[in-house]
């Protein structure tokens, strides 16, 4: 009996010691600064993140998503746990209205002076006065294609037109080597309307019906709707055509070039007109590490850092001062930095109201499932 009692005492002691230890380590880790970032997949230069941690001692927990819808639902549910998120501007617009974000403390981001007025003016349509967000990267929606495969099937393929996917005669041929389409109604339906000669902002039920008819005709030729798989699929030749984000297609291009597998991926902004989008860095209202998030934005807004990200992911950024540090083949590529001519064909979308959103999504379900 005595022995067990002694044993108990020993046990109690060790439990107490362990608890004190655990408490003291938590106290120490509270001093360790960290930052939870939620950004798009394939969208950063990891060395820049590493350097940020080395410089500031702030540990970056970096998670990725591949659709705005996923990010939005996490934000609207509240307590997402993220300190910095990167929604596209049209989604950001209504998230600001919903009260998701806090205003930026611009005094903590001196590098904002490097930002690009041309971009800020466009963003103001979604975020009046640029109070809640800073542009991360921007780009277009267009067609990525594997030059050799397309040429083999269709020597005079209309690579600079939405005909590639939206015209049944063309799509039926190219279906042989595979077509993927972004799984994003808000980014496919407006260009499809433009293709039909309709005003993309007029998302009435009638117009959506017309888009539905157009897309249903080519639906049998579309292999898959997905928002990130097309990078790999294009690069290793599983498919030959994808409607996707500009930079993603350039990443496919460089992956194919590295693999030396005889595939040349190209990108084009269709001449009928396409969407231009902006991805914005913003801080949720309930973020825990607000100071760290500001520090991070400021770090990224240093011209050289932002230039490295643009180099790595082939997207244009909203940092005017960084332009001179970006690789020439990127800044001189009209598909990344559109010339005046291309810019004329590009348009932007404002946030949808919930009724329109429902109509747009319902059209999309019909297109995808045939129901």
């Amino acid at each position: 009996m005595k022995e067990t009692l002694a044993h108990f005492k020993k046990l109690a002691m060790s439990v107490m010691v362990a608890t004190t230890l655990a408490l003291s380590t938590t106290a120490a880790s509270a001093a360790d600064r960290s930052l939870n970032v939620y950004n798009w997949s394939d969208y950063v230069d990891n060395d820049v993140l590493k350097e940020f941690t080395e410089k500031t001692g702030i540990k970056v927990n970096y998670d990725v998503f591949d659709t705005n819808e996923l990010l939005e639902t996490k934000l609207l549910a509240g307590a997402s746990g993220y300190d910095l998120v990167v929604p596209s501007a049209n989604f950001l617009g209504r998230q600001i209205e919903a009260g998701v974000f806090q205003k930026l403390d611009k005094s903590k981001i001196p590098n904002l002076s490097n930002s690009w007025d041309m971009i800020n003016e466009r963003i103001a349509a979604y975020d009046p006065g640029n109070e809640y967000s800073v542009n991360y990267l921007w780009g277009t929606i267009g067609i990525g294609y594997s030059e050799e495969k397309v040429k083999k099937l269709l020597p005079d393929a209309p690579v600079d037109s939405w005909d590639m996917v939206f015209k049944p005669e063309v799509a039926s041929k190219l279906a042989e080597c595979g077509i993927y389409v972004l799984d994003s109604p808000s980014e496919i339906i407006p260009p499809a309307m433009k293709y039909l000669g309709l005003e993309p902002k007029d998302l009435s039920a009638d117009n959506l019906k017309k888009v539905e008819e157009l897309l249903l005709k080519v639906r049998p030729y579309i292999k898959k709707f997905h928002s990130s798989e097309y990078i790999t699929a294009l690069a290793n030749g599983d498919i030959c055509v994808a409607i996707g984000y500009s930079g993603d297609i350039f990443q496919a291009e460089s992956r194919a070039a590295e693999a030396k597998n005889g595939i040349t991926v190209k990108y084009s902004v269709p001449k009928e007109g396409s969407l231009m989008w902006f991805d914005q860095m913003a801080i949720p209202k309930d973020a825990k590490n607000v100071a760290e998030a500001h520090e991070f934005i400021n770090f990224l807004m240093e011209p050289k850092n932002m230039a490295r990200i643009s180099d790595a992911v082939s997207y244009a950024n909203g940092n005017k001062a960084s332009q001179e540090f970006i690789k020439k083949e990127i800044t001189s590529n009209p598909a990344i930095y559109p010339t005046e001519d291309v810019l004329k064909n590009l348009f932007t979308m404002l946030p949808f109201d919930s009724k329109t959103q429902r109509l747009v999504n319902r059209t999309w379900t019909t297109v995808k499932s045939g129901q």
Binding site: E72, T73, A98
Partner: protein, 302 residues
Amino acid sequence: MQRQFDWGRFLLIAIPFLWLLIFFLLPFAIVVKISLSDTANALPPYVPTLNLSEGWSGITSFISQLDLESFAWLLDDKIYFLSYLNSLKIAFISTLLTLLIGYPMAYGLAKAPQRWRTVLLMLVILPFWTSFLIRVYAWIGILKPEGLLNMGLMSLGLIDQPLAIINTPTAVYIGIVYSYLPFLVLPLYATLEKLDQTLIEAALDLGCSPIQAFWKVTFPLSLPGVVAGCFLVFIPAMGEFVIPDLLGGSDTIMIGKTLWSEFFGNRDWPVASAVAVVLLLSLVVPIVIFQRMQERQREAEA
């Protein structure tokens, strides 16, 4: 003599009830509440119509304004009914397939020599040590056109064109059967293992062939295991989201995916919750009725 209040008995019953209350009824009540709310561009994206802080007047105004709008919406659009039917079909067929594969497995396990059983059981459980998500992803690698299966069959000369399995309902069936097989095998094994061997010996002595003995004795006695196993496969398969999303094509509509698009795409939590409520009721009610019938039958037999 007054009977003492039996605390032990009370606790024994109270604990599972409390469990159900906290982990089933309470979350369900929250879902029902959201399904009766209105959508809004807010944080969270709905406005509750029931305001308990206003006390009784809050409750009366809630009842007078109750419109079941979200539920009515489900009837408006055939997509909900279609995805429900399709889920029902996929869950039913995959349960049947799982049973066809799982029964011989469980039977073999129960009949295996004692020293082998632990090892064989381990083999059934072992896949659980890897994340479910990774195992489903692995099937993409196996089933895709240039995947293991097609490459294997082509190198054997059995086919010259890769089979289109990935992104079709077939892949969904494979995924569900594979993922839920242990849930059927384990309860079935437990039932078969406890089976009284003397009953079979008696049947054989009385002139049954082994096959007759199986159908007349073993199978009827294993029915509780079959039912339990089938429920464990059918119910999660019905609401399955990950498997159809990863392995199925864009045209494989299932209630889980429809729910997802309501929740994420449309930001319509009330309608999403209404789908969840209807799905739950449509599963729980028939199961409860079935259990009742079984009990009555057992009582009648006793």
